[in-house]
């Protein structure tokens, strides 16, 4: 058993989160991960309050374990969904794309554990003191919206900058990654890409097949010019954006190109127009498995590695 500050903070068996994933991480996936001993997280993305309430109800119908909701602070519905997670007394709230300070009182009164995602030391310092229970340090290897600094470089620097428990995210897909994250000072991990192949993940089979076919160099970052870079699997869509990004095309046209592309990938499996978010570890994801089995396998391996570390000390 691997027990850390994270399993003390939140009543979960294994110190692992399934990260919020727009159009992907719904109540069903979150419940499966929570039933498997980790913390499942529903992505509120840009959706409205009704969608989130529905997904919370789905999760509650499938599990009595704690789960979380990921709030995208840039969402036009941020105020509304922030109220929903408070009303519904969701156990854990993770936040992305900004500073959750303005919701902190509301959420703390509701008894939630608030865990912001940070991509730099300064963000860790700023968000860490506003009442956060822990921080997720997310490196640029991740799928989805990314910063530049890699997990390897970011995690120890964030650990040095805060006294809060730190959860490492980005580039972790197996027990080796978990063991390494603990060595870097983290007390838990958040995975996204590997859970794309959880049996309980409802994305289109084209998406799953694209991840299964991916190698170590299959991802690309686009969207830097607009100030929100995202990592996705190379595809006709991402290649086109990558080429056009540094052409004369206007920002508005670029924004328009990206509209609806996450849904097209996850729901429609549109291989031409979809944006298939995934991290650099996509090449390590080799099979579809139940969420419980993914978690079990990862922690069996991590435990074996950590038990053996003495062999390097002579």
């Amino acid at each position: 058993m691997i027990k850390t500050a994270l399993t003390e903070l939140i009543p979960i068996e294994y110190p692992i989160f399934q990260g919020g994933m727009a159009w992907i991480a719904d109540g069903k996936l979150a419940a499966a991960v929570s039933n498997g001993g980790g913390l499942g997280i529903i992505a509120a993305m840009n959706a409205d309050a009704d969608y989130l309430r529905q997904q919370i109800a789905v999760a509650r119908s499938l599990t009595d374990k704690p789960f979380g909701v990921n709030i995208m602070l840039m969402s036009p519905n941020a105020d509304a969904v922030a109220q929903v997670v408070a009303d519904e007394k969701v156990a854990v709230i993770t936040t992305g794309a900004g500073n959750p300070a303005k919701y902190m009182d509301l959420w703390q009164q509701a008894g939630a554990c608030v865990i912001p995602v940070v991509a730099s030391v300064a963000m860790a310092k700023m968000l860490g003191r506003s009442g956060a229970a822990a921080l997720i340090a997310e490196g640029g290897e991740s799928g989805g919206h990314v910063g530049d600094t890699t997990t390897m470089a970011l995690v120890p620097q964030v650990c040095d900058a805060t006294t809060l428990p730190v959860i490492a995210a980005g580039g972790i897909a197996d027990g080796r990654g978990v063991a390494a994250a603990l060595m870097l000072g983290a007390c838990g991990v958040q995975l996204g890409t590997r859970f794309l192949l959880a049996e309980e993940c409802s994305i289109h089979t084209n998406y799953k097949e694209k991840v299964l076919k991916a190698t170590d160099i299959s991802t690309i970052i686009t969207g830097k010019r607009l100030g929100h870079p995202v990592r996705s699997l190379k595809s006709p869509f991402s290649n086109a954006v990558f080429k056009l990004e540094y052409s004369q095309i206007s920002d508005a046209e670029l924004e328009e190109m990206a509209r609806d592309t996450l849904r097209l990938a996850a729901v429609e499996g549109d291989m031409q127009k979809g944006c298939f978010l995934a991290g650099q570890v996509a090449g390590m994801v080799k099979k579809s498995q139940p969420a419980r089995q993914i978690i079990q396998e990862i922690f069996d391996e991590a435990e074996l590695i950590l038990k053996g570390v003495n062999r390097w000390i002579k």
């Binding site: 900004g98 500073n99 300070a101 303005k102 991509a119 730099s120 030391v121 300064a122 963000m123 310092k125 700023m126 003191r129 506003s130 910063g147 100030g227």
Partner: protein, 73 residues
């Protein structure tokens, strides 16, 4: 005073001429993203000896300066 300090920090960060930084300059136009802003705010805190709690997104240098002035009390 706060404005000059921010301008100096920005000039230092992006390597531009401090004279080019106006109150109405947007962070976006200066090539400063949200991570850079967070870093500068932390640096400013250390310099000014105050805690700056950013609750709104700041678009321009002038906005940030004004906000920090108000937090200084």
């Amino acid at each position: 005073m706060v404005f000059e300090k921010i301008a100096a920090l920005i000039a230092d960060h992006v390597g531009c001429d401090i004279a080019d930084i106006k109150a109405e300059s947007t962070f976006e136009a200066l090539g400063i993203d949200s991570l850079d802003t967070a870093e500068m705010v932390i640096e400013l805190e250390e310099e000014l000896g105050i805690e700056i709690q950013l609750k709104e997104k700041m678009e321009t240098v002038g906005q940030l300066a004004k906000y920090i002035e108000s937090q200084k009390g």
